[in-house]
């Protein structure tokens, strides 16, 4: 091969390699948009308490309450209108999807000393 051809060949190979390197790097550092890390969306009801007492979730999350207590409870937002479960006996569940950001305090309407909060960001 004449030296000019060798030079051209080398340049092309180098260019190809660097393009490959760039694309590999780009792929490695590329993030999928709109997918946050896994968050807890479960609240357990037991021993006359909501656990965790305060739960922080992103907008659009469906939170599920499960009653593990041996006495029925309810899940009612403080304003008594945003969400309101029926009576939850042991192992019953209630879900609500939070579509708007904000702080949502709630309580058990049968045992009002039981309170909790969902913070939606």
């Amino acid at each position: 091969m004449k030296w000019q051809e060798k030079c051209l060949y080398t340049t092309c190979v180098l260019a190809a390699m660097s393009m490959l390197a760039v694309s590999l790097w780009a792929k490695a550092t590329h993030r999928e948009p709109g997918k946050p890390p896994e968050a807890n969306t479960e609240i357990k009801i037991d021993n006359f308490a909501f656990s965790p007492e305060t739960l922080t979730v992103p907008v659009g999350t469906t939170v599920q309450w499960t009653n593990r207590d041996d006495i029925p409870h309810t899940v009612v937002s403080d304003d008594k209108s945003t969400f309101k479960s029926k009576a939850l006996d042991t192992d019953d569940k209630f879900s609500f999807t939070f579509t708007k950001a904000g702080t949502y305090p709630y309580f058990c309407s049968v045992h009002p000393k039981m309170t909790g909060k969902v913070v939606v960001q």
């Binding site: 006359f48 207590d69 041996d70 006996d89 309580f107 000393k113």
Partner: protein
């Protein structure tokens, strides 16, 4: 079987050597209620199960009635898998009394989940009671999901608002109050402005020598606020009553007998006919307390309260069974 009964006089303000034999002795029982006799203005109450040893003459008075509470029909967890049996046993006890009560007071938590079949079952069981009139007040378990609509349909005849009422029997004025509606987050039992205004009007103008009996589900005194065992606005209600010579407040909700005296007002809570609950602060929460099955019916103690109008002397005899 010989029962060991321990007697203690807790209060003897008159130091007049009150004869303990004069008191009605009771033994507690899982299906315990309270039996009350009004005799010349003296109100005495005993738990049902021991009345077989009571002197029938002493029990006879101008007025007799019984209190049962917290039947929680529909509950079926280990603390008591058969609340039907224990309620029936309470009724059997009432029916076996030498001087049967003229009527019953049920201080709420009739049902466990406000389900129609639960109310139906209690009504059916109570139909076999010799006392045909039953006056109810709701517990928080009776008004779940419908703000008490079903409760009022069943038991609201003759009541106002959320189910409060008053009536007179042989010169004694009875007031049934509702303190389980419109509960607020973090709060206790609540009477509300409308009911308080009604109560003030109801008591207004009555002679202060009229014995008053108030019955409501949640205690009207602060038993243990951490567990919701109290009523936020009861102080105002009690202020309307303090001029009367004899006031007895009968409550439920805490599933154990407890009493307290404040001036001329005696507070008494009844045991449940369904399951016991722990004493204040003795457990993580106020839930059903599990005991070995053979101890369930023998767990509760008895409460015998006798007070003398005008002297404010109060003798309380507590006995535990087994």
């Amino acid at each position: 079987m010989k029962r060991q009964v321990k007697d203690e006089i807790q209060y003897d303000h008159n130091h007049d050597g009150i004869d303990r034999r004069g008191f009605l002795k009771c033994m507690a029982w899982g299906g315990t209620g309270a039996f009350c006799a009004v005799n010349g203005g003296i109100l005495s109450s005993v738990s049902l199960s021991g009345l077989s040893v009571a002197d029938a003459k002493e029990v006879k008075g101008q007025l007799t009635f019984a209190q049962i509470s917290d039947s929680h029909m529909g509950f079926s967890k280990p603390a008591n898998p058969d609340v039907v049996a224990t309620l029936k046993a309470a009724v059997d006890k009432i029916n076996a009394l030498p001087n049967p009560p003229e009527f019953l007071l049920h201080t709420g938590d009739i049902s466990h989940l406000s389900k129609p079949e639960e109310f139906d079952t209690v009504d059916q069981i109570l139909r076999s009671c010799v006392a045909k009139d039953v006056f109810f007040v709701p517990g928080e378990h009776d008004v779940i999901g419908d703000d008490g609509k079903q409760y009022l349909e069943r038991y609201g005849a003759g009541t106002k608002g959320a189910g409060w009422r008053s009536f007179d029997k042989n010169g004694v004025h009875f007031v049934g109050l509702v303190n389980v509606q419109n509960l607020k987050a973090g709060g206790l039992g609540s009477l509300g402005t409308e009911q308080l205004e009604w109560l003030e009007q109801d008591l207004n103008g009555r002679s202060s020598s009229t014995p008053i009996v108030v019955f409501a589900h949640v205690p009207l005194w602060s038993v243990y606020p951490e567990w919701g065992w109290g009523t936020e606005d009861s102080a105002q209600a009690l202020s309307y009553m303090k001029r009367f010579g004899s006031v007895t407040v009968l409550n439920g909700h805490i599933h154990q007998t407890m009493q307290k005296v404040e001036g001329k007002i005696t507070f008494h809570t009844a045991a449940s006919t369904a399951f016991p609950q722990p004493q204040p602060g003795q457990a993580e929460g106020p839930g059903p307390m599990k005991v070995p099955p053979d101890q369930l019916r023998a767990l509760l103690g008895i409460t015998d309260v006798k007070f003398v109008r005008g002297q404010h002397a109060l003798a309380i005899v507590d006995s535990k069974l087994g």
